[in-house]
Amino acid sequence: MTDATVAPPLIEARDLTRHFKVGGTWSRKRLHAVDNVNLSIRPREIVALAGESGSGKSTVARLLAQVYRPTGGDILYQGRSLASLHTRRQRLQYRSDVPMVFQDPFSSLNPAYRVSHGIMRGLKLHRRELNHAQRLEEAQRVVTAVGLHPAADILDRYPYELSGGQRQRIGFAQALAYRPKLILADEPVSMLDVSIRIGLLNVMVKLREEENVSILYITHDIASARYVSDRLIVMYAGHVVEGGPTETVLRNPKHPYTQLLLSAVPDPQAPLRVDVETGKGEPPRVVDPTPGCRFRWRCPLAMDECFTVTPLPRTLGPDHEAACHVATADPAEAVAAAASDAPATVDSGPKSADA
């Protein structure tokens, strides 16, 4: 992203890359789950990372949470590379600063323990300065902060006594207990019922306001991304294809994939447009990819260049980037820009081509 931002980024991914080995023991095939991803999250910012399943958005979250080590690239946290965290204390500090909330509230809480167990354990590990009474008080505070009342009663319950929405709130309460700077929320509402989702999205907004945390909200639901996020990043097949302020991206999507994604969102208010290209294609499994745009097979605008040169993110508006050869900065000068931009991307092509 651009450096001309007011606040310095809290966390920054630079050319983040993660490949997985696929196939048998002797296989040399590599699945490119995440390739050259650049993104930054500022303090008190909610960033939505959207994309289809298999687009690499969860892998990005796990890389940021240090579940996986990156194959290439670097993650800077408060200006410091994560690779430079050596001591257990430093790594523990990072984990308490950047906790994760998981997708499935039914399997992410231990059914054998009361709700208080998970929260208290986290507090014991990450906030050693608290004594037992203070921990209890803090546990009640975070449970109240996520909108569960009465806190003492909730803490004494077992997960099976809670509904899905309540459990997911507990997930956020656990993360909140560490006094985090950034919460990585991996599809936190996709398993919940429609009538309960909004409540949880509101909790996320409230946490940002009251607890000053940043949130990386990973989702495939663009409408909910719009509801909570300040910035929207769209991923496709391991690449970031577009990023920018949420409203800007939604009002003026530059990348053909973002346009496809937006056209597919069901909206009861809008009339149905069956003529819109519904895109029967599926996202590619990116095993040992050749250079070129990964959306080219489904793209209505693909041209020759798209098959040979990987498009790099280009700034097309204020804080608005898209990785597309065809997308233009300004519709007025569409033809001219497409012609003049092409050489620039050819020059920088090889860099990402063999990542």
Partner: protein, 352 residues
């Protein structure tokens, strides 16, 4: 997608239905109980609705509202501890509830078929798609090998899958293709009614939309009726003709889809619609519906939605509402009861 005309089975007449009045399926006062250690749980309570030929009926509701149980009850696929304890399901005039297994087997798959929720679990992982098609055909009809092969290719082409995949195993197909294969399988005999249980819930928005458009297109070509269950109300908004909103085992609102979307009569339908953030228009704070659905073993007294209802009044906890006619739709809310007609007006004035 190939739009080659697909021959209908000769033994099925298109228009004159024994049920009469173009009504394909009549569900009346259907009631399903689960017998549990804590007593009987009524998962589907006095549900009545009609499905006409070539109609698309959407059934929406949250998890645990009984929508899947309702489907299984209609298809006569319930197994203990679930049991139909009342009501009838008349398919082309014949009551499915009282039919023997043998009689049902003559109807299943040929006249009505079911598309299950998760294609990954519903398809057999160790046999090829083609073998599963053959299995289904052989179980319900006597076809020659050539006919089986021809029909299998035909239905796969109908859903836009290359027939080469008859030799593929489920894991070799993507999620969207597996769901399409499931739908192809349900169409093997060109049934009159296809019952779908959240067929798109495992898919991405793009694949989901493509599948919905395809189902609608197939329906237009082949003229089957669809009962489509989903938890995502916005998904069916453009596709269904009739909409049934279920809550805690009951139908709380039913009517033409457009009517329900444009002027929802029941507070729960209103709440569901307000729970969707939109990608167009201004960003407005939404509230969703506070609380969670009731435990069906101990449903709340009176109206079942009353503990979560923003417009509940004293009577709601005492009187169990019926379905009251509101224009072309029906709503199970005391505010829509004829006696409360004036109250409705008053509350609308307050809310606007």
């Amino acid at each position: 997608m190939p739009s080659a005309p697909v021959p209908r089975r000769p033994d099925v007449q298109l228009d004159p239905s024994p049920g009469g009045g173009g009504c394909l399926l009549e569900v009346r006062e259907l009631r399903v109980c689960y017998q549990t250690a804590r007593g009987d749980v009524v998962a589907v309570d006095r549900v009545s609705f009609d499905v006409r030929r070539s109609e698309f009926v959407g059934v929406v509701g949250e998890s645990g509202c009984g929508k899947s149980t309702l489907l299984f009850a209609i298809a006569q696929l319930l197994s203990p501890p679930a049991e139909i304890t009342g009501g009838s399901v008349a398919f082309r005039g014949q009551n499915l509830v009282t039919m023997t297994e043998r009689e049902l087997n003559n109807l299943r798959w040929r006249d009505y078929s079911v598309v299950m929720q998760s294609a990954m679990n519903a398809l057999n992982p160790v046999t090829s798609i083609g073998a599963q098609f053959r299995d289904a055909i052989e179980a319900h009809a006597k076809y020659s090998d050539r006919e089986i092969a021809r029909r299998s290719v035909e239905v796969l082409e109908m859903v836009g899958i290359d027939p080469i995949h008859l030799k593929s195993y489920p894991h070799q197909l993507s999620g969207g293709m597996r769901q399409r294969a499931m739908i192809a399988m349900a169409l093997l005999f060109t049934p009159d009614l296809v019952i779908m249980d959240e067929p798109t819930s495992a898919l991405d928005v793009v694949a989901q939309r493509a599948l919905m458009v395809q189902i609608k297109e197939l329906q237009r070509q082949l003229g089957f009726a669809v009962i489509f269950v989903t938890h995502d109300m916005s998904l069916v908004s453009h596709f269904s003709d009739q909409l049934l909103v279920m809550y805690a085992g009951e139908v709380v609102e039913d009517g033409p889809t457009r009517t329900v979307f444009d002027s929802p009569a029941h507070p729960y339908s209103r709440g569901l619609l307000d729970a969707f953030p939109s990608i167009h228009g201004p960003r407005v704070p939404l509230t969703g519906i506070p609380g969670s659905p009731p435990d069906l073993a101990q449903p709340p007294p009176g109206c079942r939605f009353q503990p979560r209802c923003p417009v509940a009044f004293d009577d709601c906890a005492r009187t169990r509402p019926e379905l009251y006619q509101v224009g072309p739709a029906r709503s199970r809310c005391l505010l829509n009861a004829p006696a409360h007609a004036t109250t409705v007006k008053a509350s609308e004035e307050v809310s606007t």
